[in-house]
């Protein structure tokens, strides 16, 4: 019995090590955004779009926009963007020139909530 177990375990260990080296864990991180991260735009954006390295769970996600004086700008509810790796939210009204901070919250397959922020400048 023990010999059979040993015979089964050795290939299992080898196979597991091979499988382990195949791929790493994937966790949601921001890869790009429109308006661009730390970028400057000349026309007021009507929509914010954020792309991630894996499909974000829209139910756990939101995008918020903060002006330089810390007031929150009203956005539509967060929705799936132009592709499954993105999220978007529309800007209600017209933005005034200045520096803005985009705050986002999202999660991937494992449900671990990630928060982040980036800035862009509107300079017509």
């Amino acid at each position: 019995m023990l010999r059979t177990l040993r015979r089964a375990l050795v290939p299992a260990v080898v196979a597991s090590l091979v499988v382990a080296s195949l791929a790493w864990a994937m966790h949601t991180t921001l890869t790009k955004a429109l308006p661009a991260i730390d970028g400057t735009v000349t026309t007021a954006p009507t929509e914010l779009t954020l792309w991630f390295n894996e499909r974000p769970d829209v139910a756990l996600s939101n995008i918020r926009l903060q002006a330089a004086d810390s007031t929150m700008i009203t956005l539509s509810s967060t929705a799936v963007g132009p592709d499954t790796l993105s999220l978007k939210a529309s800007v209600r009204g017209t933005l005034a020139p200045g520096k803005y901070t985009v705050l986002y919250r999202t999660a991937g397959n494992d449900g671990h909530v990630m928060r982040g922020k980036y800035q862009f400048t509107l300079q017509p």
Binding site: A12, V13, V19, W24, A25, M26, H27, A59, R64
Partner: protein, 303 residues
């Protein structure tokens, strides 16, 4: 990061132990039926199987409580500045892919609780239903954790997590159940009964411990990503602690197998085996608490 478990962590660990014990109850019943097959053993076997059902029921009740704790913790993570925890956060959590996994766990947990009903009159049916529920719990528990993110989010991670839970259930869950029922029945012939069932359990424990370790190392290696992160992140350090507990439990199991079991066969190790088995279970409980802390930590690089 603190390693002192809060109520949520303890309840989550209780939920894990509930799932492991449900799996263990099914395996223990098979061991008892096969190794206490002699008509002389029948009264002890029937009493033990009835007790198994009660243990499985009690264990299954812990799971929904742990699931609610999980849901509350997830909802709390969704709070933005100035918000207080309310229905909106719970709805968001439940509407997500994570929430779908939690709901599937809820169905499996409900099934495990209801499986108790036929355990009374028709234990064979109760055991089969508990077995199905146990497989359901093992398959759905990884849906709300790091297993969903490893192997590039493929189902291989969930499979690995399910193997981890089933194997841990066969090992520690069965041990917990046997420690509660193996000494039941008349004193006459008890030593022989215990020896036979523990002898058969040793093989199962060896397979279960090997698969638990293997799937755990695989999942941990995938989540941590590098040896530097193993010591350089909270997740890595708690994973090392878990590994240490696992080695301790496995070492004690090996001691039971190689030292205590031969004494039991010689008719002198009964008390020693009980003490050793309960110590192994104590360490196993510690292992589950460390696991409950580990699942709440972000993977390295995401702190």
């Amino acid at each position: 990061m603190t390693l002192i478990p809060d109520t949520g962590t303890l309840l989550r660990a209780a939920g894990y132990s509930g799932a492991l014990v449900c799996i263990g109850a099914v395996a223990a019943r098979q061991l008892l039926r096969r190794h206490w097959a002699d008509p002389v053993d029948a009264p002890a076997r029937e009493a033990a199987i009835r007790r198994l059902g009660q243990i499985a029921f009690g264990a299954a009740l812990l799971i929904p409580i742990a699931l609610f704790v999980e849901l509350r913790a997830q909802a709390a993570q969704l709070l933005d500045e100035g918000e207080s925890l309310g229905r909106a956060q719970y709805d968001m959590a439940l509407a997500s892919r994570w929430g779908a996994g939690l709901k599937a766990q809820g169905v499996a947990a409900l099934f495990a609780v209801l499986a108790w009903v036929p355990w009374k009159g028709r234990p064979w049916l109760g055991a089969r239903l508990t077995g199905l529920a146990a497989v359901g719990l093992a398959a759905t528990f990884p849906l709300t954790g790091h297993a969903r993110a490893i192997f590039h989010g493929s189902w291989l991670g969930v499979l690995c997590g399910a193997v981890h839970i089933i194997a841990a259930g066969l090992w520690l869950g069965t041990l917990a159940v046997l420690a509660s029922v193996a000494w039941m029945g008349d004193a006459e012939g008890r030593g022989s009964r215990v020896t036979r069932v523990i002898g058969a359990f040793s093989v199962l424990a060896l397979i279960g411990a090997s698969c638990t370790g293997l799937s755990g190392v695989l999942t941990g290696y995938q989540t941590v990503g590098s040896f530097a992160a193993l010591t350089g992140s909270d997740y890595g350090r708690v994973l090392l602690l878990k590994l240490g507990c696992l080695v301790g439990v496995a070492g004690l199991g090996a001691y039971n197998w190689r030292v205590v079991q031969p004494r039991l066969e010689a008719g002198t190790g009964d008390g020693l085996l009980r003490r050793s088995a309960w110590t192994e279970l104590g360490l196993g409980a510690l292992l589950l608490i460390v696991t409950a802390i580990l699942v709440t930590l972000p993977a390295p690089g995401l702190e």
